[in-house]
Symmetry: C2
Subunit: 575 residues, 2 copies
């Protein structure tokens, strides 16, 4: 235990600036160390003096409602706004995700412009604009979409999309408001024949409702589309976990999109469309009855518009035909004409047991579309030059009734991975995607990381320390596509540890890993063979020479013997 | 890339049960593998056929409000309810945390009973009851506290407490309702002279409002206190990350509490109080002006009840005396009599600049109380037997204006750590606490884990692979105490990566680490010395013998020479 000298200083410390103050309290500073003990002591004394024991009544006066926006303003790290650099990335990510979703929903090939510029000459405030050629947004929805948390179209659907919670873009606007006081600016046009609308909106955090500061017609250079501008405190820096990395990886997973990116230092990067084809048209699905919990089933029935149990089952779930619905009712000994909104909890329990003992089709899988094994490798090739590529798209699996697909792809012998370390043999690099969105933060919290750690890479010829990623010139890309990706937090940076998902991840990684193992072992064998051949080529002529001298052979005889000897040696692989 | 044979099966697969179905879709099953391709193809065709391109108008019809309880019901892994085993732990954790907080607020020594029993003879449904001797809960608050998310007393205060969000216990009740349909049962008594109240409440997830099913007077065996019972789907299993581990660690960090625990298998464990003293009486503090963001300052001013700027600054912040408030106003060139609710954004910007250039006291630290260096070691000793213990309580630091204290303690040469692995040299074990609550999940997402990885343990004589925890018989305990612990998710399992927190963690770990290094090196030296002494003891008599023969010495002369030789050899430490 460390003993510290206690200084009897009762004089308070004064600081010149917040930076100095934080430095003074944060950095170990011997003369000030007594503060802990002193403060703790005086603290204890003072608290004993001023603190009244609470009673149930005094507590009751303090209990009250917490607005969702107050909650997230205080917990803004949950939304990805923990520090200025990440905040800049998160704001752009939310806007780009929405832009891509909107274009795809409207069957439009996305053309997206991202620009970051310094705000008001400041070096820590930026103005971020993301513009898309999507269908635009109906005027009266604009304030809710951009300045109200938990408002959106994607939450109540089971459909593969980037956004899902109705939080992201409003949260970015809220963070901008908190740090700069500036409202979110939106220009949107839904019809080429009408003029565009221009809005300034900001969130009222106490009530989670939008305040509209400006609402007027304006010019816009696209027939339809949306442009959103957020002013926020941030830090622009290239490299790992940067906006640049996010946009490069986004372009890699979305070859159907054109993205133009201008940075505060004036450089412009363009990622042109690689394919004219839209990648997939995601379909909305209904929940599969096997995944539905008792309480959820009860609530769905009680709130159903269906008049009869049979219709309820048939219409509100996927894979329940009218015939199957009847069979389920019969098995549960419930009338097909039972009114769902009058069902009792006991009846729901019987119904659920009946469902779970009925043969049903697997959930439809046309609602999720993987990137595909070929496109995965194309994507990898665009990013790293390597000796060996392998990819695997698993078939759909299910967690809590939600279908999902796992994909993995790897590149081995990478020439330009910068890896995670600085030794000669750096650790592998893991690149993660969820519904085509790159995940740049919280790698170690992610189900993918767990799956990689739990894979025995030594089986595939790689070295791996316990509790660490394997080492080697390896880049592993993993993609989860689902109608509902379970993230570990609202900032959507890591996938939650559902056992079904980890299992599929491991199977996908193992499938690629086995092929990698064959390649690595073959490489090793070839290397050994080359060494052996080197020996043969070097020493064989001398042996020939010696044989000629000993056995008095002619030159052609020597050649013949040497050739035979070489063949024999090269074909005996046992070294 | 793996090529698969495509089977022309158009026949749908039928399954006997959900388990079989999930197994079939989840496990690699060659005959069914064609499904991916087939489904994706038909999917594509079907989607082209049935999917209409969305327009701004069609999207607008789908955009709507999302209730906070719907949000968390769908994202229940955010609250710690991802799987049945963790759900059981989380429900108990939330109830115990609340019980401890309530007792401490009322200056009552906590006596808490936790019991888990099988529900209705089922092996996957449990009834969990947590009973405390706290001050009880005022009748009309019961429904809101137990069946409404984001409702509570702790969110709007800056005060060290276990609960902080007003989500936990209602979320546990909601999970119980979803999985078993059973309401939360509460018995509470606030006054020994009045009878206790008995409630059955459940959350209406669509509106995030409580439904009261039962409300009656009843008997209760304590003068004041609360008992909460939740029925939920769960799995009871001992070992790592179990309820048992949570309660053991809770007892370790809360020596002032008595906890009695009965498990479903009928065993009863009691953790008696170790001290009669209440550990600390946390005080509520006001925000420190250095940590306040522009938007927050603006909002606080506009909503302030103060009539003058000077009063606003003095009353709503800590460490701003009337004199300092005047100085700030003067520096900002604003009138001390300016009405805060009429302030403009530009004026707030000037005000904030003036605050940040004014000398201010560090935030008060009597609002947070560390466990203390001695108690930390006592706690460790209760859990592991080891050769060497060391602890460190840092002085308070600040992140985003919130004071916090980091503590670290380590035990080296542990006899009974089970470590993280199964090799001869297992990885160290990390035990984490936040405001005296053990954190059992998401270790690798935690700031503490990052701090341990970024510490160079080789400096302290331990082996450490890149990207992994160090190896050795080491247990490291880390505690963060703060008026507001920033967790990575609502389930409060890991601390977010704020740079200020990671820095303090590393300093605390290093302080213990340096002492450990000295010990480890000394141990090594002692070991080497023992080896040397062994040699000396073995060979010295023979040398004496030889000297006698060569130099013809007498026995006493030999003894004298040998003693001198031994002294010289033992005191020359250069081997």
């Amino acid at each position: 235990m460390s003993k510290r000298k206690t200084k009897d200083s009762t004089e308070p410390n004064l600081f010149e600036s917040p930076a100095e103050f934080e430095a003074a309290v944060a950095v170990m500073d011997p003369p000030a160390e007594s503060e802990t003990t002193a403060a703790a002591n005086t603290g204890k004394k003072r608290s004993r003096r001023t603190h009244q024991a609470a009673t149930a009544e005094s507590m009751a006066t303090k209990q009250r409602d917490i607005s969702i926006s107050e909650f997230f303003a205080k917990n803004r790290h949950l939304l990805g706004f923990d520090n200025p650099r990440k905040a800049l990335l998160t704001a752009i990510k939310e806007a780009v995700d929405n832009a891509l979703d909107a274009c795809e929903d409207a069957h439009i090939r996305p053309t997206i412009t991202v620009s970051i510029s310094a705000f008001d000459g400041s070096d820590n405030k930026f103005r971020v604009t993301v513009k898309d050629n999507g269908p635009g947004i109906v005027a009266k929805q604009v304030p809710n979409i951009f300045a109200r948390l938990l408002y959106g179209s994607k939450f109540h659907m089971l459909k593969m999309s980037r956004g899902q919670q109705g939080i992201g873009i409003s949260a970015a606007g809220m963070y901008g408001l908190l740090t700069t006081g500036e409202p979110v600016q939106i220009i949107t046009r839904t019809n080429p024949k009408k003029s565009a609308m221009h809005y300034h909106v900001q969130i009222d955090t106490t009530n989670n409702r939008p305040d509209v500061m400006l609402d007027e017609e304006c010019e816009f250079d696209l027939p339809t589309g949306t442009s959103v501008t957020i002013t926020l405190e941030g830090r622009y820096q290239k490299g790992k976990q940067s906006v640049d990395e996010y946009l490069t990886q986004t372009a890699m997973a979305n070859p159907h999109a054109t993205i133009t990116y201008s940075t505060p230092d004036g450089s412009v990067t363009e990622y042109p469309r690689q394919t004219q084809e839209l990648p997939f048209i995601p379909l909305e699905i209904k929940p599969h009855p096997y995944g539905v919990e008792l309480g959820v089933l009860f609530k769905m029935a009680r709130q159903s518009d269906s008049k009869k149990l049979r219709e309820f089952l048939h219409l509100e779930f996927s894979r329940v035909s009218a015939r199957v619905a009847e069979a389920i009712c019969k098995k549960a000994k419930l009338s097909v004409n039972l009114r769902p909104n009058a069902i009792t909890l006991k009846e729901v329990e019987t119904l659920r047991a009946a469902i779970n003992s009925t043969k049903l089709l697997a959930p439809p899988t046309d609602c999720i579309a993987p990137i595909g094994e070929e496109k995965l490798i194309d994507g990898l090739k665009r990013v790293v030059e390597a000796d060996f590529y392998e990819s695997c798209t698993r078939k759909p699996a299910v967690y809590r009734g939600n279908p999902f697909i796992i994909e993995a792809a790897l590149a081995w012998g990478c020439k330009n991975t910068d890896g995670n370390g600085d030794d000669k043999e750096p650790l592998m690099r893991l690149v993660r995607f969820a519904n085509r969105v790159p995940l740049l933060y919280q790698q170690s919290a992610c189900a993918t990381y767990k799956a990689v750690l739990e894979t025995n890479w030594r089986n595939y010829g790689l070295s791996q320390s316990k509790g660490a990623l394997p080492a080697g010139p390896l880049l592993l890309m993993v993609h989860i596509a689902s109608v509902w990706v379970p993230f570990t937090s609202e900032s959507k940076e890591a996938v939650a540890h559902y056992p079904e998902i980890i299992k599929e991840l491991k199977l996908a990684i193992q499938e690629c890993g086995r092929k990698l193992g064959i390649h690595v072992r073959r490489q090793k064998r070839i290397k050994e063979e080359m060494v052996k051949r080197g020996y043969i080529e070097t020493y064989l002529p001398h042996i020939g020479q010696a044989l000629r001298d000993i056995l008095s052979l002619k030159d052609n005889q020597v050649e013949d013997v040497v050739a035979k000897l070489k063949y024999t040696l090269e074909h005996s692989r046992k070294i």
